[in-house]
């Protein structure tokens, strides 16, 4: 059984072997260290010419990578902590994500920026955040965030090899050591696979970037359970907590839910969430980022705009709008966990 970390590391090795235009830039990525979270381990030993350990220059290295991508390379950047993406924001928003559109579709920017995000390790206010919400809705930037479902490494491999547009690939830190236990999960859950692009975008919502290769999504229901009465939407590590919560709800409260787990956050293609919410009439969106103007806000706005969906109840569960503290009890108090998800669901189904 391999972990998410091994899956991602193997994918990088595969991508390097598959296409010699693939190169890696990041801080402290050289062996034996192999990156702060070891996702890039082994690459510099095997491909010393194609792995650049960089100065601590998060803006600069994303810019360099955008230049490499414009001139035919397939760069992968590791930003050591997702918190530091704020330093790369100008490069992502005003350069990499804009080039294709503002240059009238004459260029492509096959750039992948990978970064670990997330809390629950006591790293404190500047090393624990879930900041991808700041980049949601940036035209031209695709944001992917796998869970411990399916094959996260395969998704990474596909975007490195095939994407023609910039991708922000968000990896929750707590996912790294989780096993890819699809088989164990399968024993308990029915998993329906879908992918973005299964449903064409509604008219007028065309995207300024390519959605190729398509990103997978997963819909989970407990085997043999009655029709779900509520939809939970969650991504990344929060999907794992939501899975535990849905199990608890079933066994302890006889409340059955469907869990919808996208791996693509932007551009927004949430047909699977909408379809599930249409049948259950209740939608809980859970995220680790802070509440206000987050991913869930956009999901609920789009749900409200869908004429086919009449919701009895909709709710967001997210981190409180505060910086994340270092102290473990304080940190836990600010973040939604399994118990909070269970309580939120109960509040939505019990009159």
């Amino acid at each position: 059984m391999i972990t998410v970390l091994e899956s991602l590391n193997t994918a990088l090795h595969r991508a390097f072997a598959f296409d010699e235009r693939v190169i890696l830039l990041g801080e402290d990525v050289l062996d034996p260290y192999g990156g702060a979270f070891k996702v890039t381990r082994g690459l510099s030993s095997k491909y010393p010419e194609r792995v650049l350990t960089t100065p601590i220059s998060e803006a600069g290295i994303v810019g360099v990578a955008a230049g490499l991508a414009l001139r035919g390379m397939r760069p992968v950047v590791e930003i050591m902590f997702g918190d530091f993406l704020t330093l790369s924001a100008d490069q992502l928003i005003n350069h990499a994500a804009k080039f294709r559109w503002m240059y009238n579709d004459q260029v492509r920017v096959p750039l992948v920026v990978r970064t670990p995000m997330g809390a629950r390790r006591g790293y404190g206010p500047t090393h624990s955040q879930t900041l991808e919400k700041l980049f949601l809705g940036v035209p031209g930037l695709r944001i992917l965030s796998p869970a411990a479902l399916g094959d996260p490494g395969e998704l990474l491999f596909q975007v490195i090899i095939k994407s023609e547009d910039p991708v922000l690939f968000v990896e929750n830190k707590l996912l790294y050591l989780l096993p890819l236990d699809e088989n164990t999960t399968l024993q308990e859950f029915t998993i329906q696979n879908w992918q973005v692009g299964d449903h064409p975008l509604p008219q007028g919502l065309s995207s300024p970037l390519s959605l190729f290769p398509p990103a997978p999504g997963y819909s989970l229901s407990l085997r043999g359970a009655p029709q779900p009465m509520l939809t939970i939407a969650a991504y990344g590590y929060m999907a794992e907590l939501a899975r535990q919560a849905s199990r608890k709800l079933a066994y302890e409260h006889e409340i059955f839910t469907e869990l919808v787990v996208p791996t693509q956050l932007a551009p927004f293609q949430i047909d699977a969430i909408l379809e599930s919410a249409r049948t259950t009439g209740r939608l809980l969106v859970v995220e680790e980022g802070s509440l206000t103007s987050g991913w869930g806000a956009e999901v609920l706005a789009r749900t409200a705009e869908s004429p086919a969906i009449k919701l009895h109840h909709a709710r967001r569960l997210a981190a409180r709008d505060l910086p994340l503290p270092a102290s473990a009890p304080l940190e836990n108090a600010l973040l939604p966990g399994v118990d909070e998800i269970v309580r939120a669901v109960l509040s939505m189904v019990i009159k």
Binding site: P55, A59, G63, V64, L70, Q91, Y103, S206
Partner: protein, 306 residues
């Protein structure tokens, strides 16, 4: 053109005059509503682009900034499509999407956020080095950009990774309305040399001087595959944008009298040749302007999703 050859005075003058007339036509017609958005003209700085880019080879890359019309034209860009871009027409360099500050044609790129282009240019030079293409990258920046931190990240990486990149630092002594004395401490040259990037400094509007100096420097970039910088002290004759000049008119007049690159180069031609060149360029610019005006506006079309 290589530095060992005598530059063609006719071509240099023609290029300088073309940029001058393009920018004058632009400013003259902005107030008539024939152009939209904003613009930053290159009046007074023409010798920089013409001198440096006279050495441009087919495979070379230029990354320009917000004040990029002169760079674009000196790199061989087309008058009509540049006019059309600034008018927001479909036939523009970028179909009207980019406007004045966001151009891409061939190996020419520009962007309107100061500083950010420099790591991108560094990455391009690194890509060409990986590909063994022999191409060099020429990146333009101004004194205003010296305030942007990402510039120093780019200088550091360009030097660390020894990429074929020429930084062309145009000090026009003013950033929008802020004189360089109020925004730049210390030495400009030392900013480059501190990173191990050899830098030369010129205080001239003479295209020939710039042509010779940059030719030698570009040969070094090409032969050694490592970065260099040329600092060109220059002067902007026009406003930052359209009507936002805070300098004293007498100051500008003095520089126009003493530092006009077009006039300096015209003195090297006999009157008849000069008039022939000017007539030809005036016709080209006038035709391009008229043709651009006749082009249709773009429409928003459905963008391919897959």
């Amino acid at each position: 053109m290589t530095p060992s050859l005598v530059p063609d005075h006719t071509i240099l003058y023609s290029e300088l005059f073309k940029i001058r007339r393009f920018e004058e036509t632009l400013l003259d017609n902005f107030s008539k509503g024939l152009f939209s958005g904003t613009t930053h003209t290159y009046l007074g700085q023409e010798a920089n682009a013409v001198g440096v880019l006279s050495h441009l080879q087919k495979q070379d890359i230029v990354f320009s900034n917000h004040r990029g019309h002169g760079h674009f034209l000196a790199a061989g860009g087309d008058l009509r499509t540049l006019f059309a871009e600034l008018m927001g027409r479909a036939a523009g360099v970028c179909g009207g999407r980019g406007g004045s500050q966001h151009l891409h044609w061939g190996n020419f790129y520009s962007n309107g956020v100061l500083g950010g282009i420099l790591p991108v240019a560094t990455g391009m030079a690194l890509a060409e080095k990986f590909k063994h293409s022999q191409a060099v990258v020429i990146a333009f920046l101004g004194d205003g950009t010296l305030g942007e931190g990402v510039l120093y990240e780019a200088l550091n990486m360009a030097s660390l990774w020894s990429v074929p990149l020429l930084f062309v630092m145009e000090n026009n002594r003013i950033a929008q309305t802020t004189p360089v004395e109020l925004a730049v401490a210390g030495s400009i040259q030392a900013r480059f040399t501190a990173f191990g990037i050899p830098a030369i400094e010129l205080d001239t509007s003479d295209v020939l001087e710039i042509c010779f100096a940059s030719g030698d420097l570009l040969s070094e970039v090409r032969n050694s595959s490592s970065p260099r910088a040329i600092i060109l002290h220059t002067y902007r004759f026009g406003p930052h944008s359209k009507g936002d000049d805070t300098r004293l008119p007498e100051e500008i007049a003095l520089y126009r009298q003493q530092r006009d690159p077009v006039r300096i180069q015209s003195a090297r031609l006999d009157d008849q040749l000069r008039r022939e060149i000017e007539d030809r360029v005036n016709l080209q610019v006038g035709t391009a302007f008229a043709e651009a005006q006749a082009e249709p506006y773009p429409v928003i079309d459905s963008y391919p999703d897959q």
